[in-house]
């Protein structure tokens, strides 16, 4: 059942409404998980998950205990205009949480979203990188919450869990705000902006059912999932372009590479020259790979997980 979470009137005859699809089983108050996506208007991987999850849950409703709230679009104006940020506003939506009632419309919206999700047994916040980088299915966890979140992350059927350092600026994200309020929140990153990778979506949905099973929300036999690689078992190396031009990959995404292996080249279409060869600094697995060909000095080309994965 579609429900309005929070809304605000736009200047000319339209309402901005954040909606959720509430799917309730037996004892709807017993447990609640929130599956949220669409914070960045150019990330569409979560749209497939929202659609497919809703369809599958309808079929499983007789085995469902508690409530699943699916929020397909936290930034519907961004999605409808193919715009990553908040149309008409300079800040990234994932930098204005937990929101405020005393600033702007979007901060009012952010506050309404946080208040609606708060208290859930688990929130899964689905992102799709951006248009520049392709990511393997992974979970990102702030080291501050690692102890509590890592056990839950293991159920989500993702390939990789990246426990990253705390940064003050990230205190304005939805996940930080909810975790800070005591609502466990896992951030999923997978795929690439403006595209949908159905296999990744299906993999995550399998994991959502596994974690629901773990939480006692699905009356089904336990679903085994493969354990993810955890970043703390190895280390992450970054490859950035030193030159501008057109990037051409020489490895595949998620491929294993050796130290010194060419990940790709930066080409110069004006001269036919190779401006730069980009080499892997370590042996390991390329879990992030540049998707958008145009690069500038500093553009991220790849992230390689060494150590346990190698």
């Amino acid at each position: 059942m579609l429900q309005e979470v929070v809304s605000a009137h736009l200047p000319v005859g339209e309402k901005l409404a954040i909606q959720k699809n509430r799917i309730a089983g037996a004892h709807p108050e017993a447990r609640r998980i929130a599956v949220v996506t669409g914070t960045h208007g150019d990330e569409l991987e979560g749209q497939y998950v929202a659609w497919k999850l809703a369809r599958l849950l309808e079929k499983k409703r007789d085995r469902l205990h508690g409530t699943v709230d699916i929020y397909p679009a936290l930034n519907p104006l961004g999605i409808s205009t193919i715009y990553r940020g908040l149309p008409g506003f300079d800040l990234d939506m994932n930098r204005i949480f937990p929101g405020s009632s005393t600033e702007t419309m979007y901060e009012h919206i952010a506050q309404g979203i946080v208040r609606d999700i708060a208290g859930a047994d688990l929130c899964i916040d689905i992102h799709a990188s951006n248009i520049f980088l392709r990511e393997i299915p992974q979970i990102r966890i702030n080291e501050k919450n690692a102890q509590e979140l890592l056990p839950l992350a293991h159920f989500l059927n993702m390939d990789f869990v990246w426990v990253h350092g705390a940064a003050t600026v990230l205190e304005s994200t939805l996940a930080y705000s909810l975790n800070d309020m005591g609502t466990p929140t896992l951030v999923v990153e997978m795929g690439v902006g403006m595209r949908i990778t159905e296999s990744y979506g299906n993999q995550l949905i399998y994991g959502i059912f596994a974690v629901m099973n773990h939480l006692g929300m699905l009356d089904e036999p336990f679903i085994p999932v493969a354990p993810p690689i955890v970043s703390t078992d190895g280390h992450v190396a970054f490859v950035n372009a030193a030159e501008s031009g057109i990037f051409l990959p020489r490895v595949s995404h998620a491929e294993r590479v050796e130290k010194g292996q060419t990940i790709g080249i930066v080409s110069n279409p004006f001269t036919g020259e190779i401006s730069e060869k980009l080499l892997s600094p370590i042996s390991g697995m390329v879990f992030t790979l540049r998707e958008y060909p145009l690069v500038n000095e500093g553009s991220l080309i790849a992230r390689v997980l060494g150590g346990a994965a190698s």
Binding site: A8, H9, P11, F89, T104, V169, S172, N240
Partner: protein
């Protein structure tokens, strides 16, 4: 005066090299640095810095600068965005003023922030001519961030109408002002009336205030217009007025206007009938400090801020 190439932005082959220059006055010591446009719509900020260069050139030639003065002015580091009419870095819409102190080996805007910060670091005082994320007009003022290192009493030396003290939010921790302070520069942000246009009157007021600041610290001997008595005000003490209706915004008062309780500050009209949907009235006596300049206004959004009791 010495015009110096600080660094080049290289985005070959699609853009030609973009030089970023600084203008130096006085001796080699690092006394005062002034940063102009970092974003691509900061015309006013670039113009103020350019006018400051013009005035300092004449003052230096006349021997008005003291031997202790070593001044750097960078009018613009945003050419890549300015020349294509984009506020942020055009490729990924990231904001260089959310990347400080920068990272030499990081992504493009982190590297640019590093280059800017490298040029600006080590000065005793720093002034950032900057803009707010909300489009609007201000009474010209100095803003100091409450970091624990701030020297807010020095903000009175500019002779501008107000000194605003701001408690930083998480996203402030990656701005130039905040990081200048962390690296022991006494940092101030200077706001004037305009942003993506030029207001010569408030721009000259800003230039005078910077010269007055130099004079008050014995670094300049010159005849300058007298400053105003600066009123310090904590940002949290301002009275803020919001829209409870959406529509067309028609201001009735402007920055600098005095108001008493009951005065109509702005009206919001139905965009299709011009019927008055809302009259935003002041509940305090004071001076209008900030007014939104957007014509189309959504619900739940700041319309104006008033400094009470002035």
């Amino acid at each position: 005066m010495n015009k110096e190439l600080l660094y080049n932005i290289s985005a070959m082959p699609y853009r030609q090299p973009i030089p970023v220059y600084g203008w130096r006055f006085g001796g080699p010591q690092r006394t005062l640095a002034v940063m102009g446009a970092i974003r691509g719509d900061e015309y006013q900020q670039m113009y103020i810095a350019a006018r400051l260069i013009h005035r300092l050139e004449k003052l230096e030639a006349s021997g008005a600068l003291s031997e202790d003065a070593g001044i750097l002015v960078i009018p613009c580091a945003a050419q890549f965005s300015l020349n294509v009419s984009r506020r942020f870095w055009p490729l990924d819409n990231t904001d260089i003023n959310r990347m400080f102190p920068g990272y030499e080996d990081g992504e493009t805007t982190q590297r640019l922030a590093h280059k800017i910060f490298h040029a600006l670091q080590g000065y005793h005082w720093g002034i950032h001519l900057t803009s707010l994320y909300l489009p609007g007009d201000f009474v010209p003022h100095i803003r100091v961030m409450k970091t624990g290192w701030q020297k807010e009493e020095e903000g009175l030396d500019f002779g501008l109408p107000y000194l605003i003290i701001r408690s930083p939010r998480p996203y402030d921790t990656v701005t130039l002002n905040y990081n200048w302070q962390v690296w022991e520069t006494h940092a101030f942000s200077l706001y004037t009336k305009e942003n993506s246009d030029i207001d010569p009157v408030s721009a000259e007021m800003a230039v005078d205030s910077i010269l007055r600041f130099l004079a008050s610290h014995g670094l300049l001997q010159a005849e300058l217009p007298p400053g105003q008595t600066t009123v310090p005000c904590d940002e949290s003490h301002m009275a803020t007025f919001y829209s409870t209706q959406a529509g067309l915004l028609f201001p009735q008062k402007y920055p600098g206007d005095k108001v008493v309780p009951g005065d109509v500050v702005a009206r919001i009209l139905d965009p299709c009938t011009t019927e008055v949907r809302e009259e935003i009235k002041s509940s305090v006596s004071g001076e209008v400090f900030f007014l939104r300049s957007a014509r189309l206004l959504p619900e739940h959004t700041i319309v104006c801020r008033i400094i009470p009791g002035t």
